[in-house]
Amino acid sequence: MEHLVEQLSSALQHITGFIYPNEIELHWSILIVVYPYITGLVAGAFILASLVKVFNVKDVAPTYRLSLLTALAFLLVAPLPLLAHLGHPARSIEIFLTPHLRTPM
């Protein structure tokens, strides 16, 4: 908490104009940005692998194994930044157990 307050206090110096005090903290920050980045890597590696088998591009054949393994490896860690961002990661299972159907999330 002390760390967060220090961080916010220094952020406060750079604020010009007015902002609601509760909104000085940036709520969806770097971890949320990292998630689409990792899924992008997964998609890219997977497309590279599919080029060989599906579209018959023989030039990228040497990367086939590596790109599939890359896709798998990043796929496994992709949800981790989202979980780490939650206040209570252990409760994330509630989204599936008791879903609230009207939320866009």
């Binding site: 908490m1 609601y20 903290e25 609230h100």
Partner: protein, 245 residues
């Protein structure tokens, strides 16, 4: 079990589960009948002197962290200069005295204070976006958060157009003004209303003609914040200035 049966059973179970949830959720919604009170708050802008007692009382009553980044209620000061420039700041007694007189270069046209808090919207965007349903509307129309259920995803904090929510840095869950639910259910007033030295805040039941809030709404020109958001707030401001955002 063949494939067709498996698909049928899974689908059936899913439908049963979801419909069961809906049925269970119904009684809570229909409890909002004419018997239960609907609480709201009225604020006289002209009476607020910006002393910040309400903010202090709220922080003490509800164990809100004593830093200027976490508020259930806060007071803004609007200064409108003669050249039309508007300056807004949040008053915080822990950093500077509300009565400190700074030298202003420009001439001031008018200045006033606006206490802000959760508007306890009748059509709350924060409740709609919660992925687990941890935040809900109580039978009295107060929007509450279940701290043992909230996963801390901060979606509701993003969704609130009034900036009334924050992530509690120790509990790691969303936190907000509850109208001091533990007090109002015992017939007491919220802490901020109780301590206000100028009676700038009025608390009451919107359904009772005799309540101070209904009188407040009858006697004043009232307005709500961001009516264009269609959130139907239950915090009403008397003589709200057009500059207030």
């Amino acid at each position: 079990m063949n494939r067709r049966n498996f698909i049928r059973d899974t689908f059936g179970l899913a439908v049963l589960f979801l419909s069961g949830k809906e049925v269970l959720a119904l009684p809570r919604m229909s409890k909002e009948n004419d018997r239960s009170p609907r609480y709201g708050m009225g604020i006289y802008i002209k009476r607020c002197v910006g002393c910040g007692k309400c903010v202090e009382a709220c922080k003490l009553e509800n164990n809100v962290p004593k830093y200027p980044f976490f508020y259930r209620t806060w007071v803004e000061r609007y200064t409108i200069y003669k050249d039309g420039e508007v300056e807004v700041e949040t008053l915080d007694r822990s950093t500077k005295s509300p009565y400190s007189v700074e030298k202003r270069e420009k001439q001031i046209l008018r200045s006033f204070f606006v206490p802000k808090l959760c508007n306890q919207c009748d059509n709350p965007p924060c409740v709609q976006v919660c992925p687990v349903g941890a935040t809900f509307k109580s039978p009295e129309g107060v929007i509450l958060v279940d701290p043992d259920y909230c996963i801390g995803c901060r979606y509701c904090i993003q969704a609130c157009p009034y900036g009334a929510r924050y992530l509690h840095p120790e509990k790691r869950v969303a936190d907000k003004c509850t109208f001091c639910y533990h007090r109002i259910t015992k017939g007491l007033k919220p802490a901020c209303v109780e301590v206000c030295p100028t009676h700038a805040r009025v608390f009451g039941d919107l359904t009772k003609r005799s309540s101070p809030l209904v009188r407040f709404m009858r006697m004043n020109e009232i307005h709500v914040l961001k009516p264009g958001m269609n959130t139907e707030p239950k915090v009403f401001y008397a003589n709200l200035d057009g500059e207030v955002r």
